[in-house]
């Protein structure tokens, strides 16, 4: 049954990927990529990778989709629809590389083979010793946090750096721009407000010099 699930889910996955590629509507494509990610998380679950499934579900189906939707909200919803033909050169290249890779897989150990080279080095040691050396029952956690602690430190730093990059690109100084303030104030034109304020300030300034100081102080303090 698990094998059948594996086969079917992979089939669904490839069909979904095809569908995403053929879609013109970016919004629909983003939604379908959420579905794609849910499917792949199911597959990880079938292949015993519980932690990976956990992460993929949390990131791919939730956060990635939300971020992409936010991007679409700021940019465009539709792809330009004039070109519908298939590009020959990339297609040919993909076929060539793909057939080479498939030729390469012929030498790979079959799915689930316990004698595969991957399972003979490192992994048995982790599985046998990690309980005695590190402690937690979850082997993935003990490898992630203890044996490969450097790696995780690097990962955390990468996430941190990504935030720094996005802050540089999108952050700027963190307050609302005038045009957006206009949005929020239901179409009250802030420029008009500003003009009126300037006039009023001028009116305050003109009669006496004392008013000038007060208005200037207030403006400066704000």
């Amino acid at each position: 049954m698990t094998e059948l699930m594996d086969v079917l889910l992979f089939l669904f996955l490839v069909i979904t990927a095809f569908g995403i590629i053929r879609m013109r509507d970016l919004f629909a494509a983003v939604m379908m990529s959420g579905l794609f990610s849910l499917l792949s998380a199911c597959l990880f679950m079938v292949m015993d990778a519980v932690d990976v499934a956990f992460t993929e579900a949390a990131v791919g189906a939730g956060i990635s989709t939300v971020l992409m939707l936010a991007t679409l909200a700021i940019t465009k919803r539709e792809e330009r629809g004039d070109r519908r033909r298939v590009e020959p050169l990339p297609l040919l290249l993909c076929f060539a590389i793909g057939s080479l890779l498939i030729y390469g897989t012929l030498d790979m150990p079959a799915y689930g083979d316990p004698e595969a080279p991957v399972h003979t080095y490192m992994a048995p040691r982790f599985i046998e010793k990690s309980k005695a050396e590190v402690g937690p029952p979850n082997i993935v956690t003990s490898v992630l946090a203890s044996y490969r602690g450097y790696d995780t430190f690097g990962e955390t730093t990468v996430v941190f750096t990504a935030l720094v990059g996005v802050l540089l690109l999108l952050g700027g100084r963190l307050r609302l721009r005038p045009s957006s303030t206009m949005d929020i104030t239901m179409g009250v034109d802030l420029r008009a407000v500003k003009r009126r304020q300037a006039e009023r300030r001028q009116a305050v300034v003109d009669p006496s010099a004392a008013g000038d100081d007060a208005a200037g102080d207030n403006g400066g303090a704000a």
Partner: protein, 101 residues
Amino acid sequence: MFAVAMLAILICMALLIARAFTGPTVFDRILAINSFGTKTVLLIAVLGFMTGRPDFLDLALVYALMNFIGTIAVLRFTRYGDLSAFDRVLEAEHHTDPNWP
């Protein structure tokens, strides 16, 4: 007997994927994908019992949660074309409604 339920879930998934692709309107797609998320939750639960280790139900909870968030985000997008411009609506309500928290 878990196999029967699993098979039903897989069939339902296939049907939902078909609807998500053919769906003429956006809302059909959203509906299909939302239902699909629920099916994945069920798949995790049944799979745990099938393989004899039903202690991974945290995952099912996460799937349900993320699916809900995704659906809400998509609906926000279709409703307002934006994930944040609906602030306007909320603010307006805030000004007109004295009972608003």
